[in-house]
Symmetry: C2
Subunit: 885 residues, 2 copies
């Protein structure tokens, strides 16, 4: 024996649990024993009845793979010792023809990977033992059913014989007997089927079904190890970011049977209500059944109170156990148990999955109960889940059929009548109709219609398409890119397969799932008071990262404030340009031949913009408001279609040729990288000057009323210090002019978006002339990757599928690449200007993982759409708890 | 007197020169004395006759600005001392009514800023002194002309009275007398004008013209200081990268007069022929004239030999002097001299400007003459100038009229008959016609026509438009973006104002200047032998940076090799897709419904690609060839116009609806950031697989012939390690398959373009799976700035005008931003993979400034269009001389 293997024989590879006394493992040994194994050990140690068994460690699994799929030296010995202990405790013998011990073999990784790996039950049966089991239980049907289940499961998992082959044999038997259900088959049927099963296995594998229980056990353990690397497990780990080298443990446990008569049964329960969080024991119980039967859904289980009715003593014991477990784990538990002939066995305990509502209530309740502290409570709620609480939802009790599926582009649910143009939406809404705006894709001209619609449905575009981004900003339900839908806007109808939905038909959208439903489904409204508000107040106590909102109009600002935003991090002034009372002046400005003409048109826009800003400032009550000057290319404001051009020509009294020429001359090959942002400010200074004038006239007016206003003027798309320097001077000049005229002196800041890679790289230069940076990570992501957000749909799917990217970088900040530029921008910027304020205003500002990054990188604040403000507040608190700064 | 000013009084602020003995300064004191002052001092020290004078240092100028435009303490004293020395040497007195000393006051910065700052001549004249001068010279006309010139110049420069006012008075006088020329005015006329001039000055400035010579001198010195910061000087410095804080020196010198009769005169000369470089004294001489008269062009000067004819002794002296100067400065000199009544004075010497041809010849000749070493010779030629030598040029002696001007998009000149479509170009060329292809803009489909055309003219597009880039690649003359030209392709004609040019008309293009000329102009052919070849061989001895070429077809590769390329750094395989014999298969591939269909179409392309590569490899004779796999989005290969679609539909037997749908579905908002580059390789692996197969089949075939072939497969647009990892595996698989089938083992490399900012930022990751990086600085510049090359024309002009950018970043690498990413990419890449080869293949690879950057940053090679290879070789040598590595 080499030194290496000598070491291995000394290494403990098998940990016993169950039965009297302490287990060999403990609850905090998840890394070694896996979640299930650690839970079983912990329950044993708490004196809770667990069937005896043992856990083979995850280290063995790793060793198994490193070792060419061979068992490490000494494992066999330790497994056999473990087996012996079970035999002694159960008073039965593995493979004994008269009194056979049956085992379950289950995987159990460090974190739960539900359904990803394999399980084998009733192991240890063979042609002799089945007879013994029949005699011992006095129940031949039970025994033969167990055996055929075992052959079926084992053959599928270990021997690779397809499950279907077996099901076909059962079906043939039922057909032959003229029955429909499995329960209608008797012991003889199962016995005959076992014979057929064995023939099948011989035929398919070339070998007889293994009769040696030890061989069975070794095969099962190996199969569990193998299942760690089956394709669906690998995929699951990749999706969930679980390392491939963790390995799985294997739990071998004495079988207990809930299907041994009316004093047997099986159940699953939660220590609190997983839907509402209410503090009540909540679960299901199925008498005379095995766990499998519950899952299969053949029989409808009773509420767990049925157990109380049938066996009050057992129920009382269960009650004590669940309370003990919850108190011990200080979290709501999801437990599995089996009653075998009046004796209770616990098979599993783990933290229970719950709805957002329940998560919040349980966390807050447990703080009040003294079980956990506030920090723990904050970590218990997944910020992403909060979305569920902030929007109307489809009534969980409602039944409906899904017509089509798109992307869950903006959460919440909406019911309304279908319209196909923004104008129709506004018209219908004006007469009190609830509408859903359906378009192949939306454009900035649709803003008005989107605004009045209950929800938006598009057949094209991704999670960051115009419809999706605007809808999220509005907190409005949106299903985008529903590819099965063919929209015919002219005919005012859409088609899904053979179903035609016409203007005025009712549909329901679920923006949280992407479902499109024909007809009206009941909705339930969100509630933001009570535990939710309490949890949020704790988050605010703890977090260091500020949370602002992206809001363009007073109504959005109001929502943002109600959701707890500490300011506006991004007001996109161009959204104000699209309103019908302004767009004409905007177009006049674009069509003007010179600066004088543009100034004339801009003068018409000034009062509108000023009023917009007055509204925003008022709504924000002294909180900072960051206003971004005009960003999109001018062609976005001109119509593109010939018909619209004709109309505009009539309306404005401008020859259609001139309009067409202008549209043509403004066309760009890559508008994303075109004449937009501060490039407009440099080439047409009068536009920015008007906007700055409007901002400061508004601020001065309110200042005279005694209100504090701190305008922050933000210049978009800056790539060089000189750009900001030139534009900063213009802003200062206009601001000083306006303030001098009003006789008011305001504090104000001038800063820039960092959204062009060059800006991040030269942040030390730019920071010299900036009071703040706001990382525009939408555009920064586009340019850093070279991905057009509008076009990336063509390959992003393949990229995610082939795992070239771990996540859609427009949803979760790419920390490795884009994040490196953000970090560089912050560090260089701060080094050059220690007073520099830094924020983020891309979509990422509402994504918890990205928020954690922003916290770690030291940003002053994140800014996100109003409806994501609570999510950001919670995520910021969690970031501070995990990485105190 | 404070300590501070006490210090200043001790500082030497005035340096005397001229007259007998040594000057106070020296030739290497350009920083303190400016170029002119240092030259005058050096000539003095060489014993060359220079009129006595003094230089006020550049430090005084800086002090002047720091001091609120006041003279530093002690300056007045030192100036007066200098003045006294001049008076003594000239035997005249400043302001003396009988024997007045006259002075010139000239600026002189560290580097020549021709015409940017001010000069005043004849200073010291007043109402008395003019009479004295008249008496002394016995030439009243001369005296009064001097005086009126002085008033005019001084009033303009120092007093701010517009030059035009004076010219109008002269004109009035001439009209009154009924004469046309200044020379027709006599002493009385000038005297009368002087009176009018003085009235004018009084009227315009409210003060009489200063009569005190000292006041005149102070005013003139201040005016020169002021002129350092006049707008045109500031602009000039910004364009030429001259720091604003250098300041200018002021040179005050005794006036000498070449206009005192037939034994006086003035001249300029070059010590060698500035056009050809021939070693012969070359210049012009104008008897009885002042320098002004030569510049004004009123009289035609004689060749300098005229001086020899008139005053052989003076000429001999001049000959000795110019030889002394050239030997002393070891460079061709541009000298100015004046003969006053038989006495020779040197007024200036400096390195002479020269043509590229002359620069090369002079540098090489001087090495052979033992005057300079090879390194100095290499530094003497501006690499950019070489362009002139590599292309046919318009005969310098030709006279012509310019019809329109566009951008000098690709150098050289071309003569041909106008055609308006690529097809016509090919047809006409086939029958032996020389054609110029004229289009509003070109697209990849025009490649064939561009290829056979003598030159290309477009009315739209910038320096980096398709036409410009492709033409430069082909070394073909191109004028792009000639905005005055209105092209009517259908009517087969173009119009410039009222001129209509029809198909078949002859035109001449000058791609070096952007000129478009009606008719045929004589061209001269380039010559690359002789001194040029010798200089290039020295460059190759010295440089460390490799030079490769971007070449797509064997013909380009041949040119590249002839120009000295050491390999191909970029072969754009997509250019091979556009040839008429292939485009059909390419379109079939794009229109295929699935991978199988695509593979079928690709199989048709395989033999073409293979032949292309065989041609390239053969031409490069074992030098490395980097082949970039397909890069552009697929829609570039489909026609866009309805008519073309109809044609394609008939041709391919595919319903036009299907074509239209496919075109529609491939459309992108921002194709630059769309479905292209390695994204195609990931989503349609069969395309790259075909290309790789073609590369290796070609290489194996040649290897069997005994040729060394080192294919380098380059994956474009990589942004993440995983992309390259996946694609690398595919390349390796196909390569190994092909080599195994051929029974050949080749060395090959797999690398990537670094052109997406993310790739530069994560270069340490990517380098783990790359054998080489090639920085694609065209795209990297686009994405780092967020500038679409095709759209930036809309604002780039304003950016350059307003000096927001120092240069077009698509022509000269933006070292501060894009360069930082390149540096990061190289450093991170090398750290992760020490064997990594690094190159650059953007347009910048042929720009001398950018090449210097590439050298400093440690790249292995640059790759540029074949016609820029000599430029790159020279620039690389210069970089090594300046920054040895």
């Amino acid at each position: 024996m080499s030194v290496e293997t000598a070491k291995q024989t000394r290494k403990k590879m098998v940990y016993a649990f169950g039965g009297p006394g302490r287990a060999e493992g403990e609850g905090d040994m998840k890394i070694l024993l896996g979640g299930k194994g650690a839970g079983l050990a912990e329950m044993t140690n708490l004196g809770i009845p667990v069937p005896p068994g043992f856990t083979i460690t995850t280290e063995v699994c790793i060793e198994f793979y490193n070792n060419g799929k061979k068992w490490p030296e000494g494992l066999e010995e330790q497994v056999k010792e473990g087996l012996k202990r079970i035999e002694e405790l159960m008073g039965a013998k593995f493979g004994d023809p008269d009194n056979p011990l049956l085992l379950s073999v289950r995987s159990g990784a460090r974190v739960s990977m539900p359904g990803m790996m394999d399980t084998i039950l009733n192991l240890g049966l063979n042609d002799q033992a089945v007879e013994g089991l029949a005699r011992k239980t006095n129940n031949p049907r039970f025994a033969w059913d167990c055996y055929r289940r075992f052959i079926q499961m084992y053959s599928d998992v270990v021997l690779g014989v397809d499950h279907d082959h077996f099901e076909k044999l059962i079906q043939a038997r039922k057909d032959q007997k003229g029955v429909k259900l499995d329960v209608e088959l008797d012991a003889e049927d199962w016995k005959a089927l076992v014979a057929q099963y064995k023939e099948l296995v011989l035929r398919e594998t070339g070998k007889p079904f293994p009769q040696d229980p030890w061989e069975q056990l070794k095969g099962a353990i190996n199969a569990v190890f193998d299942s760690w690397n089956n394709p669906r497990a690998i995929k699951y780990r990749e999706i969930n970011g679980i390392p491939h080298d963790w390995g799985t443990a294997v739990n071998v446990m004495a079988m207990v049977f809930g299907n041994m008569g009316e004093n047997s049964g099986t159940g699953v329960a939660f220590t609190r209500d997983p839907a509402t969080g209410e503090k009540r024991f909540f679960g299901e119980y199925l008498p005379n059944a095995q766990g499998e039967d519950v899952v299969a859904g053949i029989r409808t289980p009773y509420p767990v109170s049925e157990l109380e009715r049938r066996m009050p003593e057992v129920y009382k014991q269960l009650e004590e156990i669940y309370k003990k477990l919850e108190n011990h784990y200080k979290d709501m538990q999801d437990i599995e148990f089996t009653v075998q002939e009046g004796k209770l066995y616990m098979l599993q305990t783990r933290s229970g999955k719950r709805t957002a509502r329940a998560a919040v209530k349980i966390a807050v309740d447990m703080v009040h109960e003294g079980l956990i502290d506030k920090k723990t409570a904050l970590l218990r709620v997944d910020p992403k889940q909060l979305d569920q609480l902030l929007h109307p939802m489809i009534d969980p009790k409602a039944k409906y059929e899904v017509l089509a599926k798109g992307l869950p582009a903006s959460p919440g649910a909406a019911v309304g009548r279908v319209v196909f143009t923004a104008d129709d939406a506004e018209e219908w809404a004006k007469r009190g109709e609830k509408v859903i705006l359906v378009r192949s894709e939306t454009s900035p001209e649709d803003i008005g219609g989107m605004n009045v619609a209950q929800g938006i449905l598009t057949s094209r575009g991704g999670m960051t398409s115009h419809a999706a981004v605007v809808a999220r900003g509005m907190g409005k339900c949106c299903v985008a890119g529903a590819g099965d839908i063919v929209v015919d806007e002219e005919a005012r109808r859409f088609r899904v397969g053979n179903v035609v939905v016409k203007e005025g038909d009712w549909i329901t959208l679920n923006g949280t799932t992407g479902e499109v439903i024909l007809g009206q489904v009941n909705l339930v409204e969100p509630s933001l008071a009570g535990e939710f508000a309490e949890l949020m107040s704790w988050a605010d106590e703890i977090r260091k990262l500020g949370v602002r909102a992206n809001a363009d109009i007073p109504r959005d600002a109001k929502v943002a404030r109600e959701f707890g935003a500490e300011g506006i991090g991004l007001c996109r002034t161009e959204h104000m340009f699209f309103a019908p009372d302004r767009i004409k002046a905007v177009r006049e400005m674009i069509l003007a031949d010179d600066a004088a003409g543009r100034e004339k048109a801009l003068a018409k826009l000034l009062p509108f913009q000023k009023n917009d800003f007055i509204g925003l400032f008022r709504e924000m009550q002294g909180r900072p408001v960051t206003i971004r000057l005009l960003d999109p290319p001018l062609h976005e404001f001109l119509p593109q279609e010939e018909e619209q051009l004709q109309e505009l020509s009539r309306e404005m009294g401008v020859p259609v040729e001139k309009l067409r020429d202008r549209v043509e001359s403004l066309k760009e090959f890559n508008p994303m990288l075109g004449h937009r942002g501060c490039r407009l400010g440099i080439t047409y200074p009068e536009i920015y000057n008007m906007q700055v004038r409007a901002i400061f006239e508004a601020a001065c007016e309110l200042a005279k009323e005694g209100m504090t206003v701190v305008p922050e003027v933000m210049i978009p798309l800056v790539g060089t210090k000189k750009e900001l320097e030139v534009l900063r001077k213009n802003v200062e000049r206009v601001a000083e002019e306006v303030m001098a005229a009003a006789g008011v002196k305001l504090e104000y800041r001038i800063g820039t978006m960092i959204e062009v890679p060059r800006a991040a790289v030269t942040a030390d230069e730019i920071a010299q002339v900036a009071d703040f940076f706001s990382f525009g990570t939408n555009d920064l992501t586009q340019m850093t990757f070279g991905f057009s957000r509008d076009d990336a749909g063509k390959f992003l799917g393949a990229y995610l599928e082939q795992e070239i990217l771990p996540a859609d970088p427009f949803q979760t900040l790419d920390q490795e690449g884009v994040g490196q530029l953000v970090r560089m921008g912050v560090e260089k910027g701060r080094a050059a200007n220690p007073n520099l304020k830094t924020g983020i205003c891309g979509e990422h500002g509402g994504d918890p993982k990205s928020i954690e990054f922003c916290h770690r990188v030291g940003l002053t604040y994140v800014s996100c759409s109003p409806y994501r403000v609570p999510i950001a507040r919670l995520a910021a608190a969690q970031a501070q708890i995990k990485y105190p700064r």
